[in-house]
């Protein structure tokens, strides 16, 4: 059978890849893609702990469903922000959005 460690390593790897994407990409939409990867990695972790712990405790799956809802909300608002910024500044490169810097 599959030991729990495999799932945890997979989730850690996916999380690190998402983190790399957030830190390194210039385009704002690509940064949001990295955030999505991180949220999925967290979800794998939650469901794996549900399965390998006490199955009758549904907290793992409930938490995962709440994360689905929060991820959807965050992507919707984030992309709306990116689109409205694009309308004003005509750019989505994160480095060029520096109005608050001195």
């Amino acid at each position: 059978m599959i030991p729990l460690s495999w799932y945890l390593i997979l989730a850690a790897g996916l999380f690190s890849i998402g983190l790399f994407g957030v830190l390194v990409r210039r385009n704002a939409v690509a940064i949001l893609l990295g955030v999505e990867l991180m949220l999925n990695a967290v979800n794998i972790n939650l469901v794996a702990f549900w399965r390998y712990g006490d199955i009758s405790l549904m907290a793992g799956q409930v938490f995962a469903i709440i994360v689905f809802a929060v991820a959807a909300a965050e992507v919707a608002v984030g992309l709306a922000l990116v689109i409205s910024v694009y309308r004003r500044r005509n750019t989505v490169v994160a480095e060029d959005l520096d109005l608050l810097k001195w």
Partner: protein
């Protein structure tokens, strides 16, 4: 090597490779499509974890809504057909170091935990995960309050997104 382990290794490898391509490919529509592949791989992982309902919800919510939203957003924010400029900013090596350190730190921390290599208990027969999940989400002794708060959050996000993206002429 049981069949389940072989399937996990293949699906896990595909998910990680697709995830890596999401964050490195220059063409953003391709990146969004690789995200779809990653999300599909994660849905198969959920099926391996006997969370079939979550796998289907993952496909419906993430691939059917969020990935399509990403593709729309990419198409609406392109200035010209060719992507100009580098895909990554000038500190990409720092990001890579941080990512590798994070992975190493997480792996090291997890393997010091005693339950790291335990195998799954068998599912008792007659256990209906969907039924239990429905009960947990709607019973007052369960998680009905977070469930309702999540729907208020979605309502706020809906109103916020419409207001932000509204074209006031």
């Amino acid at each position: 090597m049981t069949g389940e382990q072989i399937i996990f290794l293949i699906v896990g490898a595909v998910t990680l490779i697709a995830g890596f391509l999401v964050v490195t490919v220059r063409n953003l529509v391709h990146a969004a499509l690789w995200l779809v592949a990653t999300l599909f791989g994660v849905a198969i992982i959920y099926t391996l974890l006997n969370a079939g309902f979550l796998a289907v919800v993952q496909v419906v919510v993430y691939i059917g809504a969020i990935a399509i939203l990403f593709i729309f957003a990419v198409m609406l924010t392109r200035r010209q057909a060719a992507e100009t400029g580098p895909a990554m900013n000038k500190n990409w090596w720092g990001g890579a170091v941080v990512a590798v350190l994070t992975f190493a730190g997480l792996a090291f921390l997890l393997q010091t935990w005693s339950g790291f290599s335990k195998t799954a208990a068998a599912i008792p027969s007659g256990f209906d995960a969907v039924n239990q999940l429905g009960g947990a989400l709607t019973s007052p002794a369960g998680y009905v309050l977070p469930f309702e708060v999540a729907s208020v959050l979605l309502l706020a996000a809906l109103v916020g997104a419409v207001y932000l993206a509204f074209n006031k002429k």
